[in-house]
Amino acid sequence: MNAPQLTPHAVGLQVRGLRKRFGAHEVLRGVELEINPGEVFVLMGPSGSGKSVLLRHLIGLEKPDDGEIRINGEPLDSDGIMSRYRMAMVFQSGALLNSLTVGENIGLYLSEHRLKPPAEIARIVAEKLEVVGLKGIERKMPNELSGGMKKRAAIARALVIDPQLILYDEPTSELDPLSAVVIGEEILKLKERVHVTSLVVSHDRDLAFGVADRMAVINEGRIVAIGTPEEIKARPDPIIQRFLQADFKPNHRNHP
């Protein structure tokens, strides 16, 4: 996969020795990770391996017990970092505000921070909806959208921020295969159009190998492999191979 042309605003991310414990359960056990500016980095792993918790740390929704996260070398917990860097997250459920229309959801960042006049916000919202293939649905309510449309609307909301880093939490979960392909294509299109750094957390192997420039596998709170998709496939590690090769093989002999 060709590396995208970098713009000055693409950011890199460094994670060092990240640890997080919820009660007696240690969810992250010294995570080490480096994401280069402008790449699509996929974090794979089985359910409960700590993927989503790591993602929540990267956008500042959780505080680590130990370790540090740096954006372009600056600690994530330094003052005003969220204002200096524009980061957006596409949540697993889309997390559109159900009390607002799709248009209001997408323009929320601009309207709440009073960054643009209403007419300009409406124009930007229409433009971002067109980017994700949802032209003309501004007035719909989130509960009128399908799962795939909600996720694409959530991507449009993320794009309004003009992000330097987009984090996707399980972007294809609960979607049919066709919608999952559309979401994967959106992630690739954004990489080409916006040249944003993307971190995709997923256990969808097709999506992961389809969009990743580099990827990592996380298991029980530790990164067990990191590299290009080809390097990951070639790793003999039984944990990785079991995860990559797991398939449903119905045994008809047990069901007469």
Partner: protein
């Protein structure tokens, strides 16, 4: 429990610090204010009319038997103004509005909408808590003024119609004017303002700390209503003790 109290005090303090943002959030304050008024006005009328009525019904015959028929108006008037309207309306609003606040914010928390706000650098206290607390703090005192007036009317109509009391409309309100003054009404309105802050902060706090799925939301709603009512009754005693000095 102490952690909950500490968190609520902190939320109240942060809401106070956010007060300069009220003008920016005025549309949301208005929406919430309209919602509270629209959802509660009819209930407030019905409840306060019958509270005033039953107060007259309970006390009227006893006063008449002792030759104090003329005191019914004052008794109903001062009870409604200083105690019954503020407390009963606050309990009504805790059940009707506080539960809705806890459910709405709780569901936003469970379905990651609050996390989405944070990732957009939008402070949930400014966006969700402040408009609700300001709206309820404005609406409840107004509803209480309304409840006092309707309660007096209910008491007056029962006093006129009930054959064991039979006090004229003029006598009822004449005595009421002698006993109740503006300070008594202000006393009740002030109490209701304090109760509104309790309902707003407790309900928003319960919403914000919701965990789990629909069952968690249900638990938060129950806690919001029960905790609000308990605190209303405790603070009613404290405020009454202070205001009687």
């Amino acid at each position: 429990m102490f952690q909950n109290i500490g968190e609520m005090v902190l939320l109240f303090w942060r809401t106070l610090l956010a007060l300069p943002q009220t003008w920016r959030q005025r549309q949301k304050v208005f929406d919430q204010f309209f919602e509270i008024g629209n959802a509660s006005l009819l209930m407030v009328c019905v409840l306060s009319f019958f509270i005033g009525g039953v107060l007259a019904l309970q006390t009227g015959p006893v006063l008449v038997e002792r030759g104090l028929a003329g005191a019914v108006g004052g008794l109903v008037g001062i009870s409604m103004a200083k105690e019954l309207a503020p407390v009963m309306m606050a309990i009504l609003i805790a059940g009707r509005i506080g539960s809705a606040m806890a459910a709405e914010i709780g569901s936003m928390r469970v379905y990651q909408e609050i996390d989405a706000l944070r990732t957009m650098n939008i402070n949930p206290i400014h966006y969700l808590v402040l408009p609700r607390v300001v709206a309820i703090a404005l609406a409840l005192p107004m509803l209480v003024v309304f409840a006092i007036l309707v309660g007096w009317l209910g008491g007056a109509l029962v006093s006129i119609a009930n054959e064991r009391i039979v006090v004229s409309f003029g006598a009822f309100f004449g005595n009421l004017r002698e006993v109740v003054d503006a300070a008594d009404v202000a006393n009740g309105v002030f109490k209701s303002f304090c109760f509104a802050l309790i309902v707003g902060v407790v309900s928003c706090h319960q919403g914000l700390v919701t965990i789990g799925g629909p069952r968690g939301i249900g638990r938060s709603v129950t806690k919001a209503v029960v905790n609000s009512i308990v605190l209303i009754v405790i603070f009613d005693y404290v405020l009454t003790s202070i205001l009687l000095r």
